[in-house]
C-alpha cells in the first residue's frame, strides 16, 4: 500500500499518521505539501491528518479545502482512490466538497480532548474491515469543531445508505446524548461519501496504535486498509 499524507501549514498529526501507517499497515507514507499539484505516482491511499490548518482561519478546513493539492485529491477520489480524513482532515474534506455537511462548533462550546467510544456501524468497507460490525472502540478526540451537521435530506441519505460508519456511544455501544460529546446529529463520528471511497472521522485512530499509548483500538483501521490492498494484489 502506497500512502500519501497531505501536509498543510498548521497541521500537526502528520507524523503520528505516518507512524501508524508504518506500524499497522507496513506502509511508508510520503508527505505531500499543500501547494503540490500532483500526488506521487502509484498512490493507493491519501490521508488528510489532523491539526489546525491555516490556524482555523475563516472556518476549520476552509482554506486547506481550496489548496492546490486538493484538485489532485478530487481527481484521485473521482477515479475511486481511497481518501481518509481525520479531525481537521474530516473538516477539510467537507469544505472541499468531497464529503457532505459541515463540522460546527461543539454544542457545549468547549474544546474536547479525551477518549471517545465509537461504534463501528459496518465492517464491509476498506476502512473498517479490521473490525466487526457493532464493535465499540476507544479512540481519542481532540477538537473544538466536531459537531456534524447537514441538511435533513443529506442526513436521511447518509442514514438510509449506511454511510454513517462511526457513532459516539457509551462503552457498551448504547446511544445516549451524554456520550455524544459534541452534539453531532445522529451521534455521527464518521461518514463515507456516496461511492464509499472517502471516509471522514473526528476521532484519532492513529493515536491508539501502540501499547505505550494505553490502547491499540485504532490499529484495526490501518491494518484493515493494509489488508484491503494486499487482497487486491
Amino acid at each position: 500500500m502506497k500512502s500519501a499524507v497531505l501536509v498543510f501549514p498548521g497541521i500537526n498529526r502528520e507524523r503520528d499518521m505516518a507512524r501508524a501507517l508504518r506500524l499497522c499497515a507496513g506502509s511508508d507514507a510520503e508527505m505531500v505539501w499543500h501547494s503540490d499539484t500532483a500526488l506521487p505516482a502509484g498512490t493507493d491511499l491519501v490521508v488528510l491528518p489532523g491539526g489546525f490548518s491555516y490556524g482555523d482561519y475563516l472556518r476549520c478546513g476552509a482554506i486547506a479545502g481550496r489548496a492546490p493539492v486538493m484538485d489532485a485529491v478530487r481527481a484521485f477520489a473521482a477515479k475511486g482512490g481511497l481518501v481518509l480524513g481525520v479531525c481537521n482532515g474530516f473538516q477539510i474534506l467537507c469544505e472541499a466538497g468531497l464529503l457532505p455537511g459541515v463540522l460546527m462548533r461543539n454544542a457545549g462550546l468547549k474544546f474536547i480532548c479525551k477518549d471517545a467510544y465509537i461504534r463501528v456501524e459496518r465492517a464491509d468497507t476498506p476502512f473498517t474491515r479490521g473490525y466487526t460490525a457493532g464493535q465499540v472502540i476507544r479512540v481519542p478526540v481532540a477538537h473544538g469543531e466536531g459537531n456534524y451537521m447537514a441538511d435533513s435530506e443529506t442526513i436521511a441519505r447518509l442514514e438510509g445508505e449506511g454511510r454513517i460508519v462511526f457513532r459516539y456511544t457509551a462503552p457498551d455501544g448504547a446511544l445516549s446524548p451524554e456520550w455524544n460529546m459534541n452534539g453531532s446529529i445522529y451521534a455521527i463520528a464518521g461518514i463515507l461519501n456516496e461511492r464509499g471511497n472517502v471516509l471522514g472521522m473526528m476521532p484519532h485512530p492513529e493515536n491508539h496504535v501502540e501499547e505505550l499509548m494505553g490502547c491499540t483500538d485504532g490499529r484495526g483501521l490501518f491494518a484493515g486498509l493494509g489488508q484491503h490492498f494486499a487482497a487486491a494484489l
Partner: protein, 80 residues
C-alpha cells in the same frame, strides 16, 4: 470601490456562540435583548468602478469561500 459581505447562520441552525453571548449580556444586566446570532463581516476593496462586475465578483467570493452555504447565508452590499 468598497463593499461589505455579511455572512450569517441560516435560520434554524443552532448557534451556540450566539447563545453564549446572549447569556453573557443577560449576566451583564443589558436589558431588552431577546436573542443574538453571531456572524462575520468582510470589508472588501475592489478595483474599477463597474458595479455589476463588482457584485458578480463578490457573489462568487461568497459562494466559493467566504460562506459555507450548507449552514450560512450571505449578503453583498456596495458601500462606496
Amino acid at each position: 470601490m468598497k463593499a461589505r459581505v455579511t455572512v450569517t447562520l441560516k435560520s434554524g441552525v443552532l448557534d451556540p456562540q450566539g447563545k453564549a453571548i446572549e447569556g453573557a449580556l443577560k449576566s451583564l444586566g443589558v436589558d431588552g435583548i431577546a436573542s443574538v446570532r453571531q456572524g462575520k463581516v468582510f470589508d472588501v476593496e475592489l478595483p474599477g468602478a463597474d458595479r455589476g462586475r463588482a457584485e458578480a465578483a463578490l457573489k462568487e467570493a461568497a459562494e466559493r469561500l467566504l460562506a459555507n452555504t450548507v449552514i450560512e447565508d450571505f449578503r453583498v452590499e456596495i458601500v462606496s
